[in-house]
């Protein structure tokens, strides 16, 4: 499916690049022209795009979906049709950037059955160069974290191909709310992990910092739109101040010792705190859909007529009973507390023990999307407290009458 180039090292590549970051200034108009250049050259540009869902497909149907407030606007990472669509004031997209690297579903092969033989046909895949602009740092960092498992015992060509073909320029995060906690899990609102550069808004435009070879190549290719005019005492300072302030705002939400949390979870499998962690959880799995790091997928065959069909992979969720249902009928994770514990365990203990990184970048989507009130900030806080003071945590509710984690 790939052309045999070394996509793996390129995918992991951002960290491997050397040299100090380069800084440029570009005005709002320059940025728009740069997007125009990319689109003009046929390069796909993906950015957070807001759609007023009530604008389509007609004005009358539009009124049919008009809800007061934010529900009327969808923000998603989508390809831009024109430079004028770019709007960097938008908040966190509903779905993370992962959908552009691990799509909700994709065809792996097609089959045709003729008598007793089965013909399998490859699905051609092309990895055209593309640019993601204004990615949220929590979303790009998630790609770098997931790179590890995608290159563990099997090198995922589809993931790596897309990673290698994509240049990602983050936007220093302008939308921090009470569910954000990136700084507690090793990233930051101005991180370039998993990305190739960072835009920081300053008076009159943006400071662009490129941090990888791919990023430097991007800057070189668009030199006409960039200026070196980033004096350390004005624009440079403003950008640095903005970034420091954002970090401080997130850090106020949550501070944990990720290593203690990792070790505590690993050694307290049956602790009442973990065993009763999901009493209010509906097991809907929306948290895993919107999560930038949840990467589990299912491979399924879909029949498209008699004797023919398509094998696809599509997102799966550990919050569904079918995720672990055995053919025998036995289910090792047979209730929601246990399934939720698995999610916490995998993110904050299993993955860090295996790959050295937390499988979470603190975007807070799981909390925001959970209308039953499962709050990951609160849960991590509770585990952190238990990890620091194991004596007190052990005195929590009796196993036969579990309480919610904290209230």
């Amino acid at each position: 499916m790939t052309d045999g180039t070394d996509t793996t090292s390129a995918a992991r590549g951002t960290a491997a690049s050397s040299g100090p970051p380069e800084r440029y200034f570009l005005s709002e108009a320059d940025l728009r022209s740069l997007v125009g250049d990319l689109l003009g050259a046929g390069t796909e540009v993906i950015a957070p795009l807001a759609t007023d869902v009530c604008q389509s497909p007609s004005a009358v149907a539009a009124s049919a979906c008009t809800l007061p407030g934010a529900a009327a606007v969808d923000i998603d990472y989508r390809p831009l049709a024109g430079a004028d669509e770019l709007d960097l004031s938008r908040g966190l997209p509903q779905l993370s950037l992962k959908e552009h690297f691990l799509p909700e579903h994709e065809a792996l092969c097609r089959w045709k059955q003729k008598g007793t033989t089965v013909e399998v046909e490859d699905v051609p895949v092309e990895f055209a160069p593309r640019v993601v602009l204004a990615a949220k740092p929590c979303d790009s960092a998630a790609l770098a974290v997931v790179d590890q498992v995608m290159n563990w015992d099997y090198q995922d060509e589809l993931w790596n191909g897309r990673r290698a073909a994509t240049t990602i320029i983050n936007l220093a995060c302008p939308v921090i709310d009470e569910s954000c906690f990136c700084t507690a899990v090793g990233t930051a609102p101005d991180d370039t992990k998993g990305a190739d550069g960072l835009l920081t808004p300053v008076d009159g435009g943006y400071v662009l910092e490129v941090t990888t070879d791919k990023g430097r190549a991007f800057a070189a290719a668009h030199a006409a739109r960039l200026s070196d005019d980033v004096p350390a005492d004005t624009r440079g300072r403003q950008a640095a101040d903005e970034r420091a302030a954002a970090r401080a705002r997130v850090a106020a939400n949550l501070e944990i010792d990720a290593a203690s949390v990792r070790d505590w979870i690993g050694t307290h499998f049956e602790d009442p705190l973990l065993a009763s962690i999901a009493i209010r959880c509906n097991g809907c799995g929306a948290c895993t859909s919107v999560c930038p790091t949840c990467h589990c997928f299912d491979i399924i065959d879909e029949e498209e007529g008699v004797g023919r069909g398509t094998r696809r992979r599509c997102w799966d969720t550990c919050q569904a009973p079918t995720f672990t249902l055995h053919a025998s009928g036995h289910n090792p994770r047979d209730d929601q507390n246990v399934r939720y514990r698995q999610r916490i365990n995998h993110k904050y203990s299993i993955y860090p023990l295996k790959f050295g990184e937390v499988l979470c970048t603190g975007c807070g989507r799981c909390t925001r999307v959970c209308h039953a009130g499962q709050d990951i900030v609160e849960i991590l806080q509770a585990i952190d407290i238990a990890a620091r003071r194991p004596g007190e945590a052990a005195a929590e509710p009796a196993p036969d009458a579990p309480e919610p984690v904290t209230s």
Binding site: V53, P57, S58, T66, I279, G285, E303, T317, N337, A372
Partner: protein
């Protein structure tokens, strides 16, 4: 618009009843609402001393009957449940009773008189209801005082305000479109679906042990989130709730991509009302068309 902060009356009684039920051992857990870090959320109170955590205000939008659903093994393990129910929620309890998913003695129902709830529960404080913030489903509520209860608290409440646009008006606007535009609208809406099945999981009346979408032999509904599979799933989900849906709006509220499911649900309610002269109520004896058989059925094909 948001001067008053209406915490509904009867909260003291609610806490007292909850405490007494727990102390007497009549129930092992009270499922109600509490203040969370951000807004109101479900709470499971097992210690009588914690009964004061319970609240009831306009942010208490959740239909807690979902926790009585027989699929909730981990909740059932807690023991006998005392449940706080609004009028709409009580209809869902009736639905479970009607379909033999629950025995009346399995649960103690603490009804709350309700004058409507907000569209969103994730607010630091309760707000007075206005046409802009009221949950549209509350407009025209016929059960502000639930009858299917063991205890009833609070004072009678006035009708909720009329929302800027009612659900019926939205449905009518869609109905007024040519079929192809309506189809385009729904195709676009369903194309957003990521097949997380949050709508099903949260529904108090989605009680099947094995959902049709999980069946693989044969595979009735394609599991991939492509438009074809998405339309199959969403239409099937809606049809399985026809005449059963209590209009609690939880499916729409939990949808992570904002599909306006209440419009589908309401359309089906309208059809069921017209064809079978049936309206969902909190009377368990009020048999739903989908679970009923009558010799005088007007549908010829069934005889």
């Amino acid at each position: 618009m948001t001067e008053a902060a209406p915490v509904y009356t009867g909260v003291d009684d609610l806490r007292r009843i909850a405490r007494e039920l727990l102390e007497a051992g009549d129930v092992r857990v009270i499922i109600g609402y509490e203040n969370a870090r951000v807004g109101a959320r479900p709470v499971f109170v097992t210690d009588p001393a914690d009964a004061d955590k319970l609240i009831f205000d306009t942010r208490c939008v959740h239909n807690l009957v979902t926790y009585l659903n027989p699929r909730r093994d981990h909740v059932a393990e807690l023991g006998k449940i005392g449940l706080v129910v609004k009028g709409c929620d009580a209809k869902a309890v009736a639905g479970l009773l009607r379909e033999s998913q629950l025995k009346r003695d399995d649960v103690v129902l603490i009804g709350v008189r309700c004058g409507g709830v907000l569209e969103a529960s994730e607010l630091p404080a309760a707000l007075a209801l206005t046409p802009e913030n009221v949950a549209p489903r509350c407009y025209g509520c016929d059960n502000r005082e639930p009858t299917l209860t063991d205890h009833l608290v609070g004072e009678p409440q006035p009708e909720p305000p009329r929302p800027v646009m009612t659900i019926d008006e939205r449905v009518a606007a869609l109905d007024g479109l040519p079929a192809e535009e309506r189809w385009a609208f729904w195709t676009e809406q369903f194309s957003k679906c990521v097949r997380c099945y949050a709508c099903r999981q949260v529904c108090p009346l989605c009680v099947c042990e094995q959902c049709i979408v999980e069946k693989t032999q044969p595979q009735w509904i394609e599991p991939s989130a492509h438009p074809r599979g998405n339309v199959s799933w969403n239409v099937t989900r809606a049809l399985h709730l026809a005449g059963r849906c209590v209009d609690c709006g939880e499916c729409e509220r939990f949808c992570p991509v904002g599909i306006p499911l209440s419009l589908v649900n309401r359309k089906l309610q309208q059809i069921v009302a017209e064809r079978y002269d049936y309206k969902v109520s909190d009377d368990p004896e009020n048999v739903a068309p989908i679970g009923d058989y009558r010799l005088d059925d007007q549908q010829e094909f069934i005889k």
